[in-house]
């Protein structure tokens, strides 16, 4: 397989693999939301559950990584199909979005679980 075809195929595979991980993460996340919002949300309640929980931190850390792979690849596809924007600059922009999301997401996870 030539380089270009291989790179695009791997990118597609990464989007689907991250989708599979997100499938589990989002299901857990949705169930958590529906459970947690009963009786209203308070910071004490949230932080009481998150602070010091290594398992939850790991789960949400992984969640952030998966979504940071999944979302930029999806946005890249939309940019291609809607605006006809293709090429290296677009790939770079998508990578920048991915790095930003990982950093910003982990920062939030750090705030909640640290």
């Amino acid at each position: 397989m030539n380089f270009r075809a291989r790179a695009e195929t791997i990118a597609w595979g990464a989007q689907r693999a991250s989708a599979a991980v997100l499938g589990v993460c989002v299901l857990v996340h949705l169930a958590t939301i529906l459970y947690a919002v009963r009786g209203g949300l308070t910071a004490a309640e949230i932080l009481g559950r998150t602070r010091g929980s290594a398992a939850l931190a790991l789960f949400y850390g992984l969640f952030v990584v998966a979504v940071s792979i999944h979302a930029p690849l999806g946005l890249r596809t939309i940019a291609r199909e809607t605006f006809g924007w293709r090429g290296g600059a677009l790939d770079l922009a998508a990578a920048a979005v991915a790095v930003f999301l990982v950093w910003f997401g982990w920062r939030a996870v750090g705030g909640l679980f640290g």
Partner: protein, 237 residues
């Protein structure tokens, strides 16, 4: 049902306009019959394409009331009582009236590795392919394509990316991926993978919805996605 059909027919090339004709309604009348009546009785300058009239040759596809269809097997009575609108196929260059240039469509079959590459030496014995084998059944599911370009015309991905190979060419490639006698698999998977190939497909399934032969290019393309992912994963040249 009214005694006449109000037929709005596209005239001209890329620039053009609709012209309305009044055509007598008949029993078992197809859209192709209507177009032929206009050309023979009302305006001999009308250009369109057809050959077999029985759903085999794949040359008479047009856009009928906004949907791509094979006109020789589309009965006017099934389309309701409203005006009949006939345009050339979408996603292909318009030549004149109802005829489009099919070259980009067939060029993509070649680009997608749609040509059989024999792996056996000349004069070798016949290959034995079990009719019940999985590969043979996968190939069987796609080989009845008549090359009418209805799927190509219905596909959003083609309209969003002019380089996209399209459902028919990818379906053809998938039948060859499942041909155990073929020796050109690596080049073929390279050709069909990626942004202008199978991985661009979003399974909107307009190809499957509109295919007059009830083929399923969406499933064929899904097969290519998996096959090329396997090839990319393993590395290779």
């Amino acid at each position: 049902m009214s005694a006449t059909i109000e037929a709005r027919i596209w005239r001209g090339g890329a620039a053009g306009k609709f012209e309305t004709f009044s055509v007598p309604r008949r029993e078992s009348q197809t859209v192709l019959d209507v177009v032929t009546f206009i050309q023979r009785k009302l305006d001999p300058t009308l250009s369109y394409r057809f050959a077999c009239r029985v759903g085999m040759c794949g040359s008479c596809a047009m856009t009928v009331n906004g949907r791509p269809r094979w006109t020789c097997r589309t009965h006017v009575a099934r389309l309701g009582d409203g005006p009949l609108t006939v345009e050339p196929l979408a996603n292909l260059p318009r030549i004149k009236d109802l005829a489009v240039d099919m070259a980009p469509f067939f060029d993509k079959w070649a680009k997608a590795g749609g040509k059989f590459v024999p792996s056996a030496a000349e004069g070798a014995d016949f290959a034995r392919v079990e009719p019940e084998s999985e590969a043979r059944r996968q190939a069987d599911a796609g080989i009845e394509c008549i090359g009418c370009a209805v799927c190509y015309s219905a596909c959003d991905l083609v309209s969003w990316n002019p380089d996209y190979l399209g459902p028919a060419a990818l379906n053809r490639a998938w039948t060859l991926v499942n041909d155990v006698r073929d020796g050109g698999q690596e080049a073929r998977l390279s050709a069909v993978a990626g942004d202008a190939g199978c991985h661009a497909c979003h399974s909107q399934q307009s190809c499957r919805e509109h295919c007059p032969k009830s083929l399923n290019p969406t499933a064929s393309i899904a097969g290519l996605k998996r096959a090329s992912l396997r090839a990319a994963w393993k590395g290779g040249a």
